[in-house]
């Protein structure tokens, strides 16, 4: 992705950002609130169209008209504000947009049995025991929903998996679970884009780190090239943090 | 030359009976060389009609032709219009007496209660004792008066005999069917215009009562004339809407041009149309009748 710009009316959310992901690596995108992380990945996943700039996928320039195009190209996204519909059942949510079909008398019907089985199976793999595939997503906890969303993206064989702050609302165990899942997915050769505020979470799984600030990239670093403190500083904008850090004992 | 008149009715937009009125004023306007406009409250709300009369008066026409659907509501706007120098003729609903009280020149039309009463007497003469009155617009007081008059003419209580049928043909048809099925001993049916008469005809055809039950209706229309011809409908009360619209325009124009005015009110109805002499009526039903 090169020099992506995105303006919303009078707001310039992205002022030229370049970024790339390779298969099997986890590239972390870090940045403060409003840095433009969500906007950037929305552009990548076809929700927004870039005001300027180009997207390359496997070397070819892509033009995503809507999220379907991106999904078809193999870019799966778990959005910050979950892509789950509370009133619908887990299995319908799981297959939303990718419904399995089965021909009956020439008519293409939804293969509900198959969908239910796969859902139960995949959920069990992720450690979630559903009451049944018809259980509404609205009855799941936040962490469980997050897990469903990730499981779905992985199941549909995404080549690139984008996770927008998957851990921010999660407890310790759920976070570990999600990070472990990312690790597993990466090992399967999928490129993962992981977005977070939390430097520690990022360092736990990231191979490369890009920091975004006010709609611009501040640079990319490889794992091991950068210390948590440096990363923290980059995100927060540097020196001014010192005084606060002092009074809070450097624990942030 | 080129006088301007406004006709204000009380009917909602969709009431098809008023087509004849519109045709009547159009023809009269053309023949007399005057401009006539038609105005009505879109939902049939009489309070809105009062505003329309006010508004018609404000636009300064030479004359206003209006119905007197509710004396209480309309008396003030009409007499105000009269007082500001506009000549008014009352048409359709109302009575000669009420027309005089609001200061109108005259009354052309059919007093609703009287028409219903006359019909009731006629039905009584034909030996009827119980009836169903199909009211397609129960909010309109004039229609209730017709039913009430009919009941009084028959000498029975109105009571449950008036059916609030709604204006949708399917609803009318099926409600009539339901009523007749629950009250099979009903002697007579009275419908209040083509809106309720047409589906009622279909209903009677469907339950086999066509030609068997005594059927009278107000006003004429294509289907009603056919019904009269085939004997399903005994009579239609023709209040001659064409004349109600045409005559006031002609009278007003002549009054304004030459100062001549008939000395009496004109009762354009009720006239009972029966199977005799239907050809002309058949040809123009719904357009000039």
């Amino acid at each position: 992705m090169k020099n992506i710009e995105k303006h919303f009316g009078s707001v310039i959310a992205l002022a030229g950002v370049s970024f790339d992901v390779k298969p099997g690596e986890c590239h972390c995108l870090l940045g403060d609130n409003g840095a433009g992380k969500s906007t950037f990945i929305k552009t990548m996943s076809g929700v927004h169209k870039p005001t300027a700039g180009e997207i390359y996928f496997a070397g070819r320039p892509m033009h995503f008209e809507d999220p379907r195009d991106a999904i078809a190209a193999g870019i799966a996204t778990v959005h910050q504000h979950l892509a789950m519909i509370p009133l619908m059942s887990v299995s319908r949510n799981f297959f939303m947009g990718n419904e399995p079909v089965r021909k009956v008398a020439g008519i293409r019907l939804l293969d509900k049995r198959y969908a239910d089985e796969v859902t139960m199976e995949e959920m069990r793999k992720m450690g979630i025991n559903l009451r049944g595939p018809d259980q509404a997503v609205g009855t799941l906890s936040g962490g469980e929903r997050q897990t469903v969303a990730i499981a779905r993206a992985v199941y549909f064989g995404a080549k690139i998996l984008i996770l927008d702050e998957p851990t921010s609302a999660l407890g310790v165990r759920q976070t570990s679970n999600v990070l472990a899942t990312i690790d597993r997915v990466r090992k399967q050769g999928v490129g993962v884009v992981f977005i977070s505020h939390n430097v520690r979470h990022a360092l736990a799984v990231g191979d490369r780190f890009t920091v975004l600030n006010r709609g611009k990239t501040l640079g990319t670093a490889k794992r091991g090239e950068i210390s948590p403190e440096e990363l923290q500083d980059l995100m927060a904008g540097g020196q001014e943090l010192a005084e606060l850090e002092g009074s809070l004992g450097g624990t942030v | 030359e080129g006088e301007k008149y406004i006709l204000v009715s009380h009917a909602p937009d969709s009431d098809s009976w008023w087509n004849t009125i519109k045709n009547g004023i159009a023809l009269a306007g053309e023949q007399m060389g005057v401009e006539v406009e038609y105005r009505n409250p879109p939902t049939g709300d009489l309070a809105d009609m009062a505003r329309i009369i006010d508004q018609a008066a404000a636009s300064g026409p030479n004359g206003i032709i209006t119905t007197l659907a509710d004396y209480d509501v309309l008396k003030e706007p009409i007499s105000k219009a009269v007082d500001s120098g506009i000549d008014v003729i009352i048409m359709n609903t109302g009575s000669g007496e009420q027309a005089r009280e609001v200061g109108a020149l005259m009354y052309v039309g059919q007093p609703e209660y009287d028409a219903g009463y006359a019909a009731g007497l006629r039905a009584k003469g034909d030996g009827m004792g119980s009836f169903l009155c199909v009211n397609h617009s129960i909010q309109q007081p004039t229609l209730v008066e017709r039913c009430q008059g009919f009941a009084d003419g028959l000498g029975v209580e109105l009571g449950n005999s008036m059916l609030d049928s709604g204006a949708d043909p399917a609803e009318i048809k099926n409600r009539v069917l339901a009523y007749l099925s629950a009250n099979p001993e009903t002697d007579a049916i009275l419908t209040l215009g083509p809106v309720s008469a047409d589906p009622t005809l279909l209903a009677l055809e469907e339950n086999g009562m066509a030609g068997d039950i005594y059927f009278g209706t107000f006003d004429l229309g294509e289907e009603i004339v056919k019904g009269i011809k085939s004997g399903v409908i005994q009579w239609g009360i023709d209040q001659q809407p064409f004349l109600q619209a045409y005559l006031p325009v002609v009278i007003l124009t002549n009054y304004h041009r030459y100062g001549v005015l008939p000395g009496n009110n004109i009762n354009s109805g009720p006239g009972f149309v029966t199977a005799d002499g239907l050809e002309k009526i058949e040809e123009f039903a719904g357009e000039y009748r």
Partner: protein, 374 residues
């Protein structure tokens, strides 16, 4: 991952027990089923000997319910997709007038008039949807505007063209047409004649039809209602597209992010609603042979009421076509039943209001149990 599995198992300790029977009963249609049972029990008790349940009586309320069903199916799918359409009633009037103008005033063959009307009305439905999508306005406002616009044209056009607000003579024009019977005809007439001859259903005793069965066939209106219900039900529960309808209504943004073509779904549902309204209008015009400017008044509310009685959620994302059909049945039976039972007819509205409230409260309770909503 053993720990996670275990944790979920443990979490059940915090859920009180819900009995299995209760669980089995709880489905979106439950409210409709209970309501239907209640309504039939009531009328069987209080109006049994009024003729409501002889062959004619049954046909009577079936036809009325079928009418409601036709518009309710469209309104139901649209409501589940998260929008609603207040212009249904005006669309019915408009479609009827168009057919009459084309076939009577312009003298086109009736099949051409019908097909053209379908195309025009479905296109208006698409326009409705397009405006809602493009402007992001609530469909309440957009379709309210079309309620007025279409009704205005419905009154204006016949006056300009025919100098009438009611256009008759469609029956004569439809004589011998191949398409007209599909909307206005009857089926299974042979069966009913046979039933009549066999004495299984009553025959006319007097008049022109003496000897013929009182019910001489199933009107196409009922056939259309059944076809549309089956179509709607299969579409909603058994196809990919049905999943998209739920998704679009449940959370349009989330659905869009997951690759559901939400705009397409919504516009198609507006078109389908317009299609159902047009079916209603064509059946009515073919049955009564005339089109009037007042047709379809308030039908939009009746459709919404049937759908809501049938358990759908006004805000979208939840509902069932079978429920809506049952809602329409309840509506039709209550409406006609009150006339059979001889209740003062102006009280019909009061009953309708009370039933609506009762049904919705019941449905809300059922839905909360199903979805675990708070």
């Amino acid at each position: 991952m053993a720990n996670a599995t275990q944790s979920t198992a443990k979490s059940d300790e915090r859920v009180k027990e819900i009995s299995a029977i209760r669980k089995a009963l709880i489905r979106p249609e439950l409210g409709g089923i209970v309501g239907t049972a209640a309504v039939f029990t009531f009328f069987l008790l209080f109006a049994f000997d009024s003729g409501m349940f002889n062959s004619q009586g049954i046909m009577n309320w079936s036809v009325v319910s079928a009418q409601f069903m036709i518009i309710a199916v469209g309104a139901c799918l649209l409501m589940i997709a998260g929008e609603f359409d207040l212009s249904v009633g005006s669309m019915i009037g408009f479609a009827g007038i168009l057919i009459a103008i084309f076939s009577v005033s312009y003298g086109w063959p009736v099949w051409l008039a019908i097909l053209t009307t379908f195309v025009l009305c479905v296109a208006i439905g698409a326009l409705n949807g397009w405006i809602v999508i493009r402007t992001g306005l609530p469909s309440f406002i957009v379709t309210l505007a079309f309620l007025f616009i279409l009704r205005g044209f419905t009154i204006f056009l016949p006056q300009v063209i025919e100098r009438k607000t009611i256009i008759g003579g469609v029956s004569d024009a439809a004589e011998g047409d191949w398409l007209a019977p599909i909307f206005g005809g009857k089926v299974l007439q042979g069966l009913f004649t046979w039933l009549g001859d066999a004495g299984m259903i009553a025959t006319f005793e007097r008049g022109a039809n003496a000897g013929k069965p009182v019910v001489d066939g199933i009107p196409m209106l009922i056939v259309w209602a059944i076809v549309l219900i089956i179509f709607g039900h299969v579409l909603l529960t058994k196809t990919k597209f049905g999943n998209w309808i739920f998704a679009a209504g449940g959370d349009a943004e989330a659905a869009r992010n997951s690759g559901v073509p939400v705009n397409r779904v919504k516009i198609l549902m507006f078109m389908f609603t317009a299609f159902c309204a047009t079916v209603f209008a064509v059946c009515q015009v073919m049955e009564f042979g005339s089109a009037g400017a007042d047709r379809g008044l308030l039908k939009e509310f009746e459709a919404i009421i049937a759908v809501v009685i049938g358990g759908a959620l006004l805000t979208g994302g939840y509902g069932s076509v079978l429920g809506a059909a049952l809602g329409a049945l309840i509506f039709g039976v209550v409406q006609q039943g009150l006339f059979f039972a001889g209740v003062e007819s102006s009280l019909f509205r009061v009953f309708l209001g009370v039933i609506l409230l009762g049904a919705v409260i019941l449905n809300t309770y059922i839905r909360r149990i199903i979805t675990g909503e708070r």
